[in-house]
């Protein structure tokens, strides 16, 4: 990943992690795979970078987690969105929509901003 993209991603990592958990509970490895897949490999993060975000989001009550052992599988810590987490994701989506629209307008050169 390019340096600028990595820097931009850092500022949005919490929202990206929340979005990756929107479909349902998942463990760290699955979250990273979801981020990679949904970004069509643009965000190929070092896998360790997602854990501080998971712990930070759990500490502020946006995620909850519990150890689970699937039948015949390895014990994993599963993370899921809390109600507050879903609300925070909705807020961040709105904010991102406004922000990206403004940046598109500025960088795209097509129309004036603010409209």
């Amino acid at each position: 990943m390019l340096g600028m993209e990595a820097e931009m991603l850092k500022g949005h990592l919490d929202a990206i992690v929340l979005a990756a958990l929107e479909a349902g509970p998942a463990h760290g490895y699955a979250i990273i795979e979801t981020i990679k897949r949904n970004s069509t490999n643009t965000f190929d993060l070092p896998e360790g970078t997602v854990y501080p975000a998971l712990h930070r989001l759990e500490a502020v009550g946006l995620l909850s987690s519990a150890w689970m052992t699937p039948p015949g599988g390895r014990r994993r810590r599963m993370y899921s969105l809390t109600k507050a987490g879903s609300a925070a994701l909705a807020d961040r989506r709105k904010a991102w929509g406004r922000f990206s629209q403004a940046v598109d307008a500025l960088l795209g050169g097509g129309r004036a901003w603010p409209a």
Binding site: G48, T49, P52, R76
Partner: protein, 205 residues
């Protein structure tokens, strides 16, 4: 013989030594993820697959440094709350002591009232200035803590609390301020330790 994953998890545990609970929890979690990644490797589980899983995870000290930064923010918040509580309880205890001493007509030392009052005021000023000017340094917090400790010690010496048989409404706030200054010292020390650890991890990275 320990494998690549075991060595990595041990290194992560060492780098997270500023928070043993986090170190334990994260080590378990990361170990589970790394084994899963190694087992999912296209070439099948092998020492080479373990090495690839560890390489994709990132350097242990960089992961630990990110946790340390988050821990500093949390610890700084807790220290500030503790500082505010200590200032409030010290002020209340000081006022109750003054009222009680006025009733008795004096104190056991001439110097103690001055230290009691001015160390408290100095601690408060350093705390306020430090909060706005040096958010990334533990020094103002440490100086503020020292000022409050001096004020509390002087206040207790001034009243001769435990030799003169002070009433409960004077003794309880005094016990509270002693407990709070102890907790504050512990928090400030913890913050200092985390700041040093983060700096070390960042230098090593």
């Amino acid at each position: 013989m320990a494998g690549v994953i075991d060595d990595y998890v041990a290194a992560l545990r060492r780098d997270l030594d500023f928070d043993p609970t986090l170190a334990r929890r994260l080590a378990d979690e990361v170990e589970s993820q790394l084994w899963e990644a190694a087992e999912a490797d296209l070439a099948g589980p092998s020492p080479e697959a373990e090495r690839r899983a560890v390489a994709r995870f990132g350097l242990a000290r960089e992961v630990a440094a990110q946790f340390a930064s988050d821990a500093i923010a949390r610890q700084a918040r807790r220290s500030c709350i503790m500082l505010a509580a200590t200032v409030a309880v010290t002020f209340i205890a000081m006022r109750l002591r003054v009222i009680w001493l006025d009733d008795l007509g004096g104190s056991v030392s001439a110097l103690a009232p001055l230290i009691d009052r001015y160390a408290f005021i100095a601690a408060l000023l350093v705390g306020i200035v430090g909060w706005f000017a040096f958010r990334r340094s533990v020094l103002p917090l440490a100086v503020c803590r020292a000022g409050l400790a001096a004020s509390i010690a002087a206040g207790i010496a001034r009243a001769g609390l435990f030799v003169d048989g002070a009433p409960l409404h004077v003794l309880l706030p005094a016990a509270g301020e002693i407990a709070l200054i102890g907790l504050l010292s512990w928090h400030v020390f913890g913050l200092h330790r985390r700041l040093r650890r983060t700096a070390t991890l960042r230098r090593a990275g």
